[in-house]
Symmetry: C2
Subunit: 195 residues, 2 copies
DNA sequence: AAATACGCTTGATATAGGTCAACTCAAGGT
DNA sequence: ACCTTGAGTTGACCTATATCAAGCGTATTT
């Protein structure tokens, strides 16, 4: 039995609206539980991101691999976040990204077509989508600004203050890549700021 | 008489839906034309971004000023784009950004409360908002990835292929700042790629 | 028309952060 | 228990890009 309560609570909390029993039934039928073990891929480069996942448990990273074989983490995701390459998911084009479980991962997943149905049929779901869209826009704006005008050290401090729990959940080399730094540089930054 | 046709066409095109005469009337009443001369500010740091503007004519830049007094352009905007610091606009918090007209600017502007009304009352408007939200999410994802994993030269080429008209409309030092580069570096990149 | 400011270029130099390599330590696999 | 693998650290060196400075040409102001 999968844990749908996490999803229900999330929708209700974000949207500020209640889900009816019918709503819950609809969600239960069309969100499919999926488990991935650490290191398994939710999405591989070149594939279409057919599913969006709601993370019930675990963590994941979204990353690209450049021509030199270097990985760049674009996103780190935890419980109660949505997991997808949105470009591929919305447009059904092949993805340039990989999404990999960093810990054993439990998601509830569904397709774009099905999400469209939820948006039409479940008011709380559609209200949630609007709030998320706002939050994403704000978060993106801030992250972009940090990436453009902050030094490595400032970006690290920004991360600490915005997502302190990331330090507990993700290994340092993953945080470095997320911040656009080499692991060595992050190690040195931490050394200096500890003094 | 302000040019509302640009706004109507935009909404209908993006949403794929028609606006009724009533819809148009409502928009006409609650979007206020505003003209700014080159160098005037649409928003100043510290102020709340009370209005969102639809650009009918002209261009603008959204930028921050860091402690060293250096400006960083986060966004360049042209006709048929929306102009706002979304964080400040949605949350009504003081903005960290400045928005300045780079050319004489004509916008149609409205408040957040009024936009909420449009979303409820005008189906084409709300459909448009959903499409824009998708487009923004995709564009942000791509821009973030470019910022994190591309070299200066790659970012410039990325800009050329995604927004070729920017080269005509914006001076080179603005493009440099938008790309997170010094004007000197962009100048040298162009010199090298021309040969 | 003169004066001024500004955008762009070019050269010389500085620096933040990357790369490479070696070492340590902890964790997982057999 | 042993071996291997991978994360983290540290040092030496390197490179992409920033900074500073000067000069040129073209708008803009007066």
């Amino acid at each position: 039995m999968a844990n749908f309560e996490a999803l229900f609570n999330y929708i209700q909390e974000i949207s500020g609206k209640q889900l009816s029993d019918d709503d819950k039934h609809l969600l239960t039928v069309h969100f499919k539980p999926k488990k991935l073990r650490k290191r398994q891929y939710f999405l591989q480069e070149g594939d279409v991101c057919k599913y969006i996942g709601f993370i019930v448990k675990g963590s994941a990273r979204t990353f690209t691999v450049d021509e030199k074989g270097h990985e760049h983490i674009l996103k780190l995701s935890l419980e109660n976040w949505w997991l997808a390459d949105f470009e591929s998911f919305y447009l059904l084009t092949p993805s340039r990204f990989n999404i990999e479980a960093l810990e054993d991962l439990e998601v509830l997943q569904s397709t774009n077509a099905q999400i469209e149905e939820f948006l039409k049929q479940i008011p709380a779901f559609s209200a949630m989508a609007n709030v998320i869209s706002q939050n994403y826009t704000i978060a993106n704006q801030n992250r972009m600004q940090a990436a453009m005008s902050f030094t490595a050290e400032e970006r690290y401090e920004d991360l600490i203050s915005n997502y302190p729990h990331f330090l507990q959940r993700f290994p340092q080399n993953m945080l470095a890549s997320y911040l656009g730094l080499s692991p060595e540089t992050l190690s040195r930054i931490r050394k200096n700021s500890f003094k």
